[in-house]
Structure formats: structure tokens, C-alpha cells
Symmetry: C2
Subunit: 489 residues, 2 copies
């Protein structure tokens, strides 16, 4: 099975991602950059998200500020609740995230909301000491994970948002009105969020600055089964887990068996599964895990994590939370703003409830890389990233078979005609085999080779990454070929 280290090596060597500010010793941990290949792949992932979730469902998207006022987090509960338990060694001053330290040392899951009292008890009962110096721990304290910033010369307190969704809640009334919204309505946002993790780790998997794609579905809690569009997704497969694993059930069967409470939730989970199916993630290695009460976030009434199996265990890619009226009620009472909307069918006023799909983009990209990575020992130990063409960072390479001037010139001309429309590379250095390898490793689905015959009949050889089969295509047909091959099914 592909390992975390293999992906990391590929990422660093080929420009998927790498540590931020790495030339400086004071580079803070938990910050990573996307290199050129990573940026393209991320952009294509986002384009697929827009296509298969936003436009398909008729959602709308906003893009708000990352710095938000103190009141927002007063209302949201983050000032009170958004903190990690911190265990500090009395002797050497080492700092650990208490719940995770306990979980590692005791080999069992410590739920996120566990109180300081319980954590202290577990530390003393198990005689846990600092792993660096065997010192004793001070009592566990709580550390708020939001980054504070001072605004203007008066240094007014504001925060970097710890989740993108707060923008959506705060802006809801204006957006719903200007866009002439009707419930249920999904409002989405892609952007950076910031969490001052005590112990960031594993590159893209626990970052202090990360990309979220969050969808907040505003709905009427009395009409969660009025979803005619559910029929479009009823046969999509979901792997649901509660106390047992219900494999390969369709969305409609999950409803019938009472594993999901209503059509709205079933519809959006199915839509999400359909989306991830198109990313190339192996859906047999995914699950929707219903969280136990002590695992849920403080705002959640019902929670499913969409998880994917990787070499380092099951990874949460999307948190699906029924947040009910927690958010709009909180912002309403703190701001004295009315968030109720009128249902046009019967003129009743309703404070919308919210069902959320909170996606981690960085983790999703990591998972796609891991599930797409293949080593093919039959052929030169080649490494192939079997990305779907519409997610491939580079769609094709243009390769002159030999470095003869007329072949090179022809190749450059072909490339210059196509380059504006597609992400592509031109490569003339090294043997053709080595050039194929370089392309395969970053998932380029097509190699266009320009050879002697090209100069005669204006055709090129198209070589397919996965099958290594080749066919000849006329230069004039290339754009059409590439458009068709990079379309989403």
C-alpha cells in the first residue's frame, strides 16, 4: 500500500507542496505551500466542487474576510469553547495537547470535549510523565486556538476566523435577500481558516492555516422531508457506520432503515459521495461515520464524518453537522438582528436551521494523491499517478522525439497554439522514456510526441499514461480531443 512517506517524497520533489518559510529557522510549524503542480491540482479540485456540488444543486457562493470582529466569536461560542487542553511539563516546559498525549500513551480515543478534571485524573491515575524529561505535568489548562490581531492604531481586537462558515452565518440575511433566496438554500464558501494548533503535524493533515470548502444549507426544520430532488440521488451508495458498519447501502435504503433522519440530510450526503466518487478516491475505502455524543462539536445536534482510509488510518475529510438553529440564534441574540425568513407558500416566519458540509481541501488532495499513486514494476519501476484527466495538474506534455531543429520548432508551434486553453508542459530534455516517466509521476494523462511523421502528415502520437497505448491524431483535432478527454463524466 502507498505510504505517507511516498506521497511526501513525491510532493517535495515534484512541486505539489512543501513547508512554508523553510529557509528560515524561525519558520513556524503547521504552514505549508502549494507548489506549481499542487496549485493546478487544487484549482481543478475546486472547479469540480463548483460543478458537482454548487452549480448542480443551485447553491450560491460568497467570499468573505478572514479577519472578523470580536462579536462574531462571542456569538459563535468560539471565545468560550474553541480551545485545546494543554499539558505543560513542570521541569522542562515541554507542551503537549493533553487529550492527544493521553490517547497516544494509553492507546485509546479520548473524546474532544473531555474536561480538564477528567484529563488531570487520567494523567495521575496512569502515572504519566513528560516523554522528554520524565518530569511531572502542571494541571491541564485550556488554550484558545484563535489567532488574535489588532486593528488600526487603537489596536482593536479581532480574530482570524477558525472556520469559514461564520462569514456565511453573519452575511446570511443580506445574501438571502439580495439573491431572492428560498429555503432550502445552500450558501458556500472556499477560503482559508486559521487554528493555532498546539501540535500541528503531518504536512497537509493538521495545519494552522488551511483551506476549507464549507457548505451551509439553510432549511426549514419542519420541511426536511420536502426534497423532490432527493430522487436524483436516491440510488447513490453510502457506507454508513454507527455502532456497526452498514456497507454499500443506497441513500434511499439508509432512509428506509432509519439510519438517516430525513431526506434533506440523505440528499446532501449522497451528493457529497457522488462528488468524491468523481475525485478518484476509492469509494470502497470511505465511510460516513456517525459521531457519538461525546465526540461531536459543541454546536452539533447530529454529526457524520466523511472519512477515507489512508496509510495512516481513517482520515476525516468532511464534517457533516446538523447545527440546527445554534448559529443564527447566537448571532441573532448578540447582534439584535432578525434572521427569520418568510416562507412564500404559507407566509410563515421561520428561523432557518443549518445542515453543514465542512470540507477540508488540503486533506482531500492528500487522500486523492494517496489513492491515485501506483508503482508499476513491470515497466522501469515507473510511478504513475492515476488522476482523472480533469484533476490532473497538467493535461498533456508536448515532446519532440528528437532535438532536431525542425522537430523542436514544430513542437513549439503546436504547444503555443494549445497552451492558453490547457495546463501543459513542453519538454525536450532527456530520452523520451525519461520524459514519459516525469509526466506519469505527476499524473499527466497524455503525452503528445512530435516525430518525423508529424513533419510529413501533421499528426502526432498521443500516448495514454495508464495503458501506455498510443494512437495518432491530427494536429487540427487536438483541441477537440483534449476537451473531450478532460470533460467530467
Amino acid at each position: 500500500m502507498t505510504s505517507y512517506d511516498q506521497i511526501m517524497k513525491l510532493a517535495l520533489e515534484r512541486g505539489f507542496y512543501f513547508p512554508s518559510c523553510e529557509i528560515y529557522p524561525d519558520a513556524p510549524a503547521g504552514f505549508w505551500e502549494y507548489g506549481p503542480v499542487g496549485v493546478n491540482m487544487k484549482n481543478k479540485f475546486i472547479a469540480l466542487w463548483r460543478r458537482e456540488l454548487i452549480r448542480r444543486d443551485g447553491m450560491i457562493e460568497i467570499d468573505g474576510s478572514q479577519i472578523m470582529s470580536r462579536s462574531v466569536f462571542e456569538a459563535s461560542g468560539h471565545l468560550r469553547n474553541f480551545s485545546d487542553p494543554l499539558a505543560e511539563c513542570k521541569k522542562c516546559g515541554s507542551i503537549f495537547r493533553a487529550d492527544r498525549y493521553l490517547s497516544e500513551k494509553l492507546g485509546k480515543l479520548i473524546p474532544e470535549g473531555t474536561s480538564e478534571t477528567v484529563l488531570n485524573l487520567m494523567i495521575s491515575e496512569n502515572h504519566l510523565q513528560c516523554q522528554n524529561c520524565k518530569g511531572e505535568f502542571k494541571p491541564v489548562t485550556r488554550f484558545n486556538m484563535m489567532f488574535k490581531v489588532g486593528i488600526g492604531s487603537s489596536n482593536d481586537v479581532a480574530y482570524l476566523r477558525p472556520e469559514t462558515c461564520q462569514t456565511i452565518f453573519v452575511d446570511f440575511a443580506r445574501v438571502f435577500k439580495t439573491m431572492r433566496g428560498r429555503l432550502p438554500l445552500g450558501i458556500a464558501q472556499i477560503g482559508k481558516s486559521f487554528r493555532n494548533e498546539i501540535a500541528p503535524r503531518q504536512s497537509l493533515l493538521r495545519l494552522r492555516e488551511f483551506y476549507q470548502a464549507e457548505i451551509e444549507v439553510f432549511c426549514n426544520p419542519d420541511r426536511l422531508d420536502e426534497m423532490p430532488k432527493f430522487d436524483e440521488v436516491r440510488d447513490i451508495t453510502l457506507n454508513l457506520v454507527d455502532d456497526k458498519f452498514h456497507r454499500d447501502l443506497t441513500a434511499v435504503d439508509c432512509l428506509k432503515q432509519g439510519l438517516l433522519p430525513n431526506k434533506l440530510i440523505a440528499y446532501y450526503l449522497a451528493l457529497l459521495a457522488d462528488f468524491y466518487g468523481k475525485t478518484g478516491i476509492d469509494m470502497k475505502r470511505t465511510r460516513f461515520r456517525r459521531l457519538a455524543d461525546d465526540e461531536k462539536a459543541f454546536y452539533s445536534h447530529l454529526a457524520f464524518d466523511f472519512e477515507v482510509e489512508t496509510s495512516i488510518g481513517w482520515l476525516e475529510l468532511v464534517a457533516c453537522n446538523y447545527r440546527a438553529d445554534y448559529d443564527l440564534k447566537g448571532h441573532s441574540s448578540t447582534s439584535n438582528h432578525n434572521f427569520e425568513v418568510v416562507e412564500p407558500t404559507d407566509q410563515t416566519k421561520v428561523l432557518p436551521h443549518i445542515f453543514e458540509l465542512s470540507m477540508g481541501i488540503d486533506r482531500s488532495l492528500y487522500s486523492i494523491l494517496e489513492h491515485s499513486y501506483r508503482e508499476d514494476f513491470r515497466h522501469d519501476d515507473r510511478v504513475v499517478l492515476r488522476l482523472n484527466p480533469y484533476l490532473a495538474p497538467i493535461l498533456f506534455g508536448v515532446l519532440p522525439l528528437m532535438s532536431k531543429p525542425n522537430m523542436v520548432e514544430k513542437s513549439r508551434t503546436i504547444h503555443s497554439v494549445l497552451r492558453k486553453d490547457f495546463d501543459s508542459v513542453y519538454d525536450e530534455s532527456g530520452s523520451i522514456g525519461r520524459r514519459y516517466r516525469r509526466l506519469e509521476e505527476i499524473g499527466v494523462p497524455f503525452a503528445l510526441t512530435i516525430d518525423q511523421q508529424t513533419l510529413v502528415d501533421d499528426t502526432v502520437t498521443v500516448r495514454y499514461r495508464d495503458s501506455m497505448e498510443q494512437e495518432r491524431i491530427g494536429i487540427g483535432d487536438l483541441k477537440k480531443f483534449l476537451d473531450a478527454k478532460s470533460a467530467v463524466d
Copy 2:
């Protein structure tokens, strides 16, 4: 002429942009959100930028962290130099940006780098008082405009980047190597930057959190005229201003007349002009203004601002700076990292120089809106945003002529087939005339009307926004029609 207020009204009423955290009294100034229509337009602007600058030129793009370590800004000079002069009233405590206050009161430009001594002298010589209470000012002090954040439980100092380019400089060595770069090479980045402005103002025009699209061209200072691709852009028109206005000169004439120092700079200014020509900005109302020595930023050897004329004066959209070796030298000496690269032709080592195109996305979008806005009093006082189809937030609306069930059903079916591929709306409420108005106001180029004839022969009426002409098109040909019409020329 279109006014700032007209655009602001449209932006607020139709979901282009609006203030952040507006429901809260402690919402900090200088933060704005893009609404659904604004997000789409911004995404299309960025897609055009990628097409016409990045892919056309063969640049590469990265996407780095916004929080960067202290050393970065030690090396870049921002800790010392990136500050605004601040005038505080002794009596009421009001705070002003000293240079701008002087400039407003005295009606003349105060260069950005003017020293505190000179500013204090100007205040006293002109007997300037606080405009709020007539109080005297304290001596001018300097206020660093970077936002500081504390990392981890030890609260290590880091900063939100004040410009995206620092990421590109810091990452240069790795990116150049992994991507097997050759000079000249453009490395670009789109992302947020943050400046703690003393007096943010005018919505998208002076923000504390804003979008930049920066291109840093790494080049060999001895080979600035070795640019064969200059020939592709030699006839593009530039409006250059130094002490006089040289209108409508081609790039090659600018070179011949000695107005531009080398082909590399001429090439990139021409590429930029070509890009903006495609955004719909009226290029006759643009100029490249060569900055005087006392106007330039501290790192710049030669600077041209690309400016566009708007209702509130000439607006800087892109700062084009020849930064020479300022950046790599600074990071090299602070980090002890070697940034030299080897020229493959003669194996010489060279520390690349940098020519930068630093674009403000928010301001660009504002300018496009203003230049596209038309009031057409001949027809119902209609407001039309004449956006190019490839920049229009919504490409088409699907409108059933009447709200008959079969027409509505047919319309929804047509929409559901097309919606994944294009940004579109479905609208059945109000008279057809009112629905056209709503679409025109946000720049939707095409309205597809479904009428009685559609039910008979599967054709729809396509109405063109600008000419208001109509033609009938078969449903099966719509995708092809829309693809062709939204392609960039």
C-alpha cells in the same frame, strides 16, 4: 459618467460586494465580502489572468501561507520600512495618516516616503489643526502596517504578509529547482495580503485585507534584451507617461524612443496591456505612469504604475517594479541561503533580478464594473453592465415566458441539463421585461426564453443583452452556442 455611488449601489443591491461583519457595531473598517455575483466575476477575472498571462507566457503559479515568520520581514525590510506616518490630535485623540491629511488640506501630492521631520514642518508651517476639534497635533510618529500574530502556546511572533510576493522570493530556490526553471521565469501567486491601514476607505479601493495577483519575473540582468517572444507583442499599444503623456505608442516604438529600457520590461508591460484590453476596461482611459524617484517604493529601481481613469480619478491597478536584486540579496544575507542559479548556455552563476507586476484584483474588478456600466434611457431606464461574456458572473438566464406548468417544466429541464457547465440562473417570477432588467443589471449576456413554440419545436429564444436582438436556437445546440459565445477571443 458613471459615478462611484452608482457602482456602490449596484454592488450592495445585487450581491457584488458588501461590508464584512456589518451586523456588528465592532465590525472593523476596511474589510469587505464578495457576494455571489462578485465571487463569480472574480473567479472569471482570475481565469482570464491565468489564461492570458500565466499560461500564455509559460509562467508557473504557487500558493503559499499568509502567515509568515518574522525573519522574512526582517530580510524584506518591512519591519523597518513598511509604515505610515501617523498624526494624532493632542486634544481629542483623533488619528490621521499624516501624509494624506496634508495632501488633502494643502491640495498637493505628498510623496509616500516623506520623512517625519518634513511632515512636522509642513504641519507647523501651514498651521494645520485637527479637523474634528481644532486641537494641535502631537509630533508625527510611524505606525508599522503589518498585522502581528502569536504562534503556538509560546506566542512566537509572526506576521500576516503585506504582499504576496514575499512567498515567491522565499520559495524561489526550491521552486526553480523542482520545476527545472530557466531564466527568465515568471512565478506568480494569487492570494490575500493584509495591511493595517490607518484610514481604509472607498470599499474595494483601500482595504485592510485584499486580493493580489502578483507576478515576479526572475531574470538575468545581463540578458534583458534577449527576448525573442517580444516580437509577439511588439505592436500592442501602451500609453506611457513620464513628464509628458506619450499616447498610443506601440511597445516597439516605446523601446525605440528610449521610453522603456529593455525588451523584457517592454514585453511584460505589453502583455499586461493586452490582458486588460480583454477585461473590457476602456484602454483609452489607461496609462503606464513612470514614477518619480520620491514616489517609488523602497525596493524599486524603476517603477511604472498601470492606472485607469475612473470617476474618482486615476486609480493604480498594477505596480510594475524593477526590484533588481533587492529581494534575493536580502533573503540571501538573512537566511545564508544561496539563491544563485546557473545559466545552462554558459554555466555562469547569476543572482536573478526581479521585474514585478503587482496587480490589485479588487480594484481591477471595481474598474471593470465602472467602465462597463451603462444607463440606457431609451428603454425603460434600463441599466446594463456590458461585461464580456467570459467575465459575466452569470452567462445566461432561463426564463419561461409564462408560468404555465408545461412551460415551467420544460424550462427547468433545459436548465438542469446546462447548469453544471455554466453559471446560470432560472427565473420565473415577474413580467418578462422585469426579468430581462434584472439580468442586464448584473451583466448577463444571454436570456433564454422558453415559450409556446419551444413546446412544439424544441427551440428557445436567445436575447442578446446589448443589442436586445433575438434569435431562435435549437435546445440541442445551446451548449455549443454558449461555449462559443463565452470563449475568449
